[in-house]
Every structure is written in C-alpha cells, then in structure tokens.
C-alpha cells in the first residue's frame, strides 16, 4: 500500500466521524442529554487525533501524484491550504472537547461555556473540512471540478504554505526557537505522564488518583505546544516528514490520545485512593502510557538519524 492509498483510505474518516459527532452533539443539546454530550466530545477528541494522521499522510501522497497526467497541481495547492485551515479548527475543537471532558469528570457536569465553544469550533471546522475534502476530490475527479482549469489560484494557495517555509529558511531564529518550545512541551507532557502513571504503578502511593488528575491539563498543554511547533516544522519542510518512522510517531500519538481517555472515562482508576494499590488493568494502561510517550520521543528524535530528515 502506498501513501496515496493510505491518504485515500484515511481521508474520509475525519469528515464522516466528525459529521456523526456533530449530529450527535445537536441531538444531545436539544435533548439536554449529558451522556450524549460527553459521547460527542469523545468523538470530537478522537477524530481530532486521527486527523493528525490524515493531514500528514496527504504530504507523502502529493509527492507521488504530482506528476501524474490528469492531476491538477493547482487543486493540490488549494487542497493543502484548505486542509491546514480545517485541521487547525479541528485540533482546536479536539482541545476544547478534551477540556470539557476533563472538567466534567472533575465537577461531574459539563459547563455551558465549554459546550458553546466546542459547538462554534465544531461547526466552523466541519464547514472548512467539507471545503478541503471537496477541493481534494478535484485533484483527480476533474468532472466535479469548477476550479480545475484555474491554474493561478492553486499556485497562489500553495505558495501560502511555501512562504512559511521560505520565512523559516530566511530567519535562522525560528527553527531553534520552535525546537526549544518543542522540548518545553515534551517536559510538561513527560512530567505529568510520569507522575500520574508511576503513581498507578506504585510510586508515591500516598497520593490519590483524583488529586493527580488535576495535573492532566498541564500535560495536554505540553502536547498542544508540541502539536503547534511540530506543525511549524512540518509545514516549513514537509519533504522531511515522510517514511515509516514519522508515520509510526503519528500512530503512537493517536494511541496516547486513546490512553489518556481511559483515565478520564473509565471508573477503575478513580477507585485508587490514598495508599491504595491500583488494579492490574489500570497498571497496564499506566505502563503503556509511559512506553507510548517514550516511543514518541524516540521516533521524533531518530528522524534525522534513521528517517528522512536532515
């Protein structure tokens, strides 16, 4: 299976899953059903995580189809820019959905301001994504295209992303600054992962899970810093981020997202009070979190050594 096939396989996922989430969210709000509201938030969060893989798979796909006859490079450029915009709103939706779930678990209710923010972001993200998907379709299905024979627009759209690459190249401070921030985010995420998960494994047993739960937003903030700085690297030099190691890193990030949901949605870790030993399943999930995030650091760090980065 090549990158084009991967992109075609995963590219319908954000649109389909997100429309289900949005529909459910409307129903939940109309029916004032808290359970459905939370379910929608879970769908938004997981879809946002999966969309990271969808977005980055497009990069490798375009290197393969660029020179194929019948493929519109103008449409590729437009699609890429539209996709980045949709991606950004999708990630913002995912972030606030996560925050809503976190607050719900802490205070056992979903706050209205959070739902309002998620609703607005989700609607905008959905509209932008439908647009990106539509332009994406025009890359090959020129029969649905109105823009296929416009060439100028696409190049302008593509250069919007490339100009960021040019900016990074021209300003030598940007890359090390983003790298330093990427390290800061790594430290925040590692600190929380270690404290929460090592406690579940038996270290610092006098702390209850409920008290450690308050640390989670710090880890999420660290992850968000790294998502933003990571995208700064990716958009500047997309040719560096192809190949198995980078793909593996993205898959591990998705596993990390699923992992943290265990601690937010499942009751088992919440039974761990001060001095208690955690149940075996919770210990297993905690140990896997540490392995996942160290593996993420491994894949990212090794990109210049084992992967395609310079």
């Amino acid at each position: 299976m090549n990158a084009v096939q991967v992109h075609l396989l995963v590219n319908h996922f954000p649109t389909v899953a997100f429309s289900i989430g949005l529909l459910l969210f409307f129903v939940a709000i109309a029916a004032k059903n808290d359970y459905l509201k939370r379910t929608s938030l879970v769908i938004f969060f997981l879809t946002a995580a999966l969309t990271i893989a969808t977005y980055v798979s497009g990069n490798e796909a375009q290197t393969l189809v660029r020179d194929t006859p019948g493929v519109s490079t103008a449409a590729i450029g437009q699609h890429e820019t539209a996709a980045l915009l949709a991606f950004s709103f999708m990630q913002a939706t995912g972030f606030f959905s996560w925050l809503g779930l976190w607050m719900w678990r802490r205070a056992s209710r979903v706050t209205n301001w959070n739902l309002a923010v998620v609703l607005v972001l989700a609607i905008v993200a959905f509209a932008l994504m439908a647009r990106a998907a539509n332009i994406g379709g025009e890359i090959r299905h020129s029969e649905i295209s109105a823009a296929a024979d416009e060439t100028g627009d696409g190049e302008a759209a593509e250069s919007a992303l490339r100009s960021w690459g040019d900016y990074v190249e021209a300003h030598t401070w940007v890359w090390p600054t983003a790298e330093s921030l990427h390290f800061v985010g790594l430290c925040m995420l590692f600190g929380v992962v270690l404290a929460v998960d090592l406690r579940m494994l038996g270290m610092g047993k006098s702390l209850s899970f409920a008290s450690l739960y308050q640390l989670l937003p710090l880890g999420m903030l660290g992850f968000t810093i790294n998502l933003i700085t990571g995208m700064m690297f990716f958009v500047a030099t997309p040719q560096q981020y192809t190949g198995f190691l980078f793909f593996l890193k993205m898959m591990l990030v998705i596993l990390g997202a699923i992992n943290v949901l265990y601690f937010m949605l499942v009751d088992e870790p919440w039974t761990v009070g001060e001095g208690d030993d955690a149940p075996a399943r919770t210990k297993l999930v905690a140990a896997s979190a540490i392995v996942i995030w160290i593996a993420v650091a491994f894949c990212g760090h090794m990109l210049p050594f084992l992967g395609n980065s310079f």
Partner: protein, 161 residues
C-alpha cells in the same frame, strides 16, 4: 590543555560514539539526554507549578516521592552529557553557550535543594498557605530550567563547530 582535549576526542570510544551509525552511538546518547531532560524538568515543573497553586488537591509533601525519578534523569543526563562533551571537547569548551547552560543547571539544582529544605522539610507544608518566598523559588526554578533547555538547544547552533 588543548592537546589533552584532542586526546579525549580521539579516544576510540569517542570516535565510535561520534561516527558510528548505530542507535547506541551518538543518536542514542542524545536520545537518552532528551528523555533524561523530560524526567528532570518534567517532575520539577510539576513541583513548581503545584507550589504556584496549580492542582491544589495534590498534596505537596507526597510529591517529593517522585524526586527519585528526577534524580534518575539527572544522573542519566550527567553521564550522557559528559559523553556528549567528550566527543566534541575542544569546540564545546570554547563555546560560551556551554558555560551558560552549566550555570543555569547549577542554579536550578541549588534552587531545587532550597525548595526541598523550605517546602518538603516543612511539617506544616500541607496545612498552612505557602509563603511568597517559596513561590518565588518556584518561579526561579522554572526560569532556570527554561534557560537550561534553551541554552542546551542552542549548543547545536552557536559557537565554534
């Protein structure tokens, strides 16, 4: 002195670390240094932010239990740091940024000891509100670690090659 540093750089072990493509050579040592940083600064940041009022339900006295993880990271980074210095001894020791990084780390460790003394050794730590002095220590700790991260990252960019 320079002769001595060149001798270190030319040791078989240093050459292997520098030149081998093995993941246990340069790339692996640097990876351990990065992960060690995550352990040291991550746990320290949790302690500092807790002092500043984040995650109030978390009992500060119990957070000290994680300092073994912090010190594990610290010693991993001391060992890997010495290796990374040895393989480029002449250029790194001629780089002012290297000394800036060392000063930041020294200050951060002294800061940590002061937090240990004034927070963890205080029997009333979980009962009484924390003093402004202790909160200032948490702010300076975050600042020193941030400085160490940035100056460490910049070692790859500035100074003699």
């Amino acid at each position: 002195m320079t002769d001595f540093l060149i001798k270190i750089e030319q040791m078989g072990f240093c050459q292997w670390i520098r030149e081998s493509d093995s993941v246990f050579a340069y790339s692996g040592v640097l990876l351990l240094h990065t992960i060690g940083m995550g352990f040291v600064v991550g746990i320290n940041a949790c302690i500092d932010l807790r002092i500043l009022g984040f995650a109030p339900a978390l009992r500060l006295s119990a957070l000290e239990k994680f300092s073994s993880v912090l010190w594990l990271g610290f010693w991993v980074n001391t060992v890997t740091g010495v290796i990374l210095l040895a393989i480029h001894a002449t250029s790194k020791l001629a780089n002012p940024d290297f000394y800036i990084k060392m000063v930041f780390i020294a200050l951060a460790i002294v800061n940590l000891q002061m937090i240990k003394k004034q927070v963890f050794r205080d029997p009333l730590v979980d009962k009484a509100p924390l003093s402004a002095k202790v909160k200032l220590l948490a702010v300076t700790s975050l600042f020193f670690w941030l400085g160490a991260i940035i100056s460490g990252r910049l070692l790859a960019y500035v100074g003699p090659k």
